[in-house]
């Protein structure tokens, strides 16, 4: 079960100019090098996507930690609920046959 985000998507235009509380939160994902997936590294506040990217570069890649950055409005992320983790992930628990170790193979069979 997933829940609907309770915060509205960030709308910078709705903020009033002097109130930084209106700056939305962005989650930052960094690809450390080619061939790897982007990984979540933290979050930051920024008024828009361009500044979020620029701030992410300054905050999270001061030592060449990445070759690519994603920034995503935090409110756009929909997450599974930790309270329902047992029932939500339950369907995977009793299907041991999905793993190769489930099967008995006679001694001496190779490349299998």
């Amino acid at each position: 079960m997933t829940q609907t985000p309770q915060n509205p998507a960030p709308n910078p235009a709705a903020g009033n100019g002097s109130d930084r509380r209106g700056w939305p939160l962005w989650e930052v994902f960094v690809r450390a090098r080619r061939g790897l997936a982007h990984q979540h590294v933290g979050s930051l506040h920024a008024p828009d996507a361009a500044l979020a990217l620029q701030n992410a570069r300054d905050i999270y890649t001061r030592r060449s930690e990445g070759v690519s950055i994603w920034v995503v409005p935090s409110s756009a992320i929909v997450a599974s609920s930790p309270q329902e983790k047992d029932s939500f992930f339950d369907p995977a628990l009793d299907k041991a046959y999905r793993h190769p170790t489930f099967y008995d193979i006679p001694e001496g069979v190779e490349h299998l």
Binding site: Q3, T4, P5, Q6, N7, N11, P12, A13, G15, G17, S18, D19, R20, R21, G22, W23, L25, E27, F29, H40, V41, G42, S43, L44, H45, A46, P47, D48, L51, D58, I59, R62, R63, V72, S74, S75, I77, V78, A79, S81, P82, Q83
Partner: protein, 330 residues
Amino acid sequence: MYGNHDTETALVPDEGDSERQAEFDALIADDQRIEPRDWMPDAYRRTLIRQVAQHAHSEIIGMQPEGNWITRAPSLRRKAILIAKVQDEGGHGLYLYSACETLGVDREDLLDRLHGGRQKYSSIFNYPALTWADVGAIGWLVDGAAIMNQVALCRCSYGPYARAMIRICKEESFHQRQGFEILHTLAHGTPAQKEMAQDAVNRFWAPALMMFGPPDDASPHSAQSMAWGIKRFSNDELRQRFVDMSVPQAEVLGLSLPDPDLRWNDERGHYDSGELDWDEFARVISGDGPCNAQRMSRRIRAHEDGAWVREAAQAYAAKQAARTLEVAAS
């Protein structure tokens, strides 16, 4: 990335608490990490908010004593290094504010609490950096003591805090080394330079030891924090490790540590050291240190002076967003 922003609702205790408490206790007992959207006891959340916020505040206030020396660094090399270090401290503050926000507090509230004196920062940053050698002593001793604390926090039971600590520890070791190098250069320079290095170590040694917090028998929250896996080692344990580590380093520097009671204890396998002045610690923490007023007023002024930048960025974002809407409508 925790999604759904429902940490606020988690602040309100509800009926299922005893069952959730049992799950939480089991995770802690199993040395697992607690993540932002997990249920956690109110007191655990409050303790973490206080500790992580105080840590974040310390990082950004810590930019001041050294930032003060950027324009007076003795060479371009030293200046470039110092700028990078001070920028790192700012970055560390941001990692920690980001971790703290996952507990359901707002960044601006945290800054308000700092500026209003309702949340504290490390007492060490209320001591002045009087000479260039102080920049070295801060790197060697203050960052050294911070690393000792922070390495232990990399295994903290709260996931986002532990992850921020891992990043920070990677970056801090450069800070400690650059401090050691500054002192080593001075200590092997002219007699006046060596004297300057010794004077800096004399002033920073005891305050650095106090960074580990009060002795275990006078540290009221320690036992609970240890039980929750927030703290992994006691204040006195970490302080002892730091003393044991620093004595041989001071020998390499050719500088002495200002403690007549400092000597090797064969029986304990550790160095013994003299009593610290905990009255001074209490005074500095409660606002009566040499630089408390200056640090706070500079911090608040920087925040106020930066208001126009935040407003301009906000206005630009609003203008761009409005244009996007217009284009979409046309």
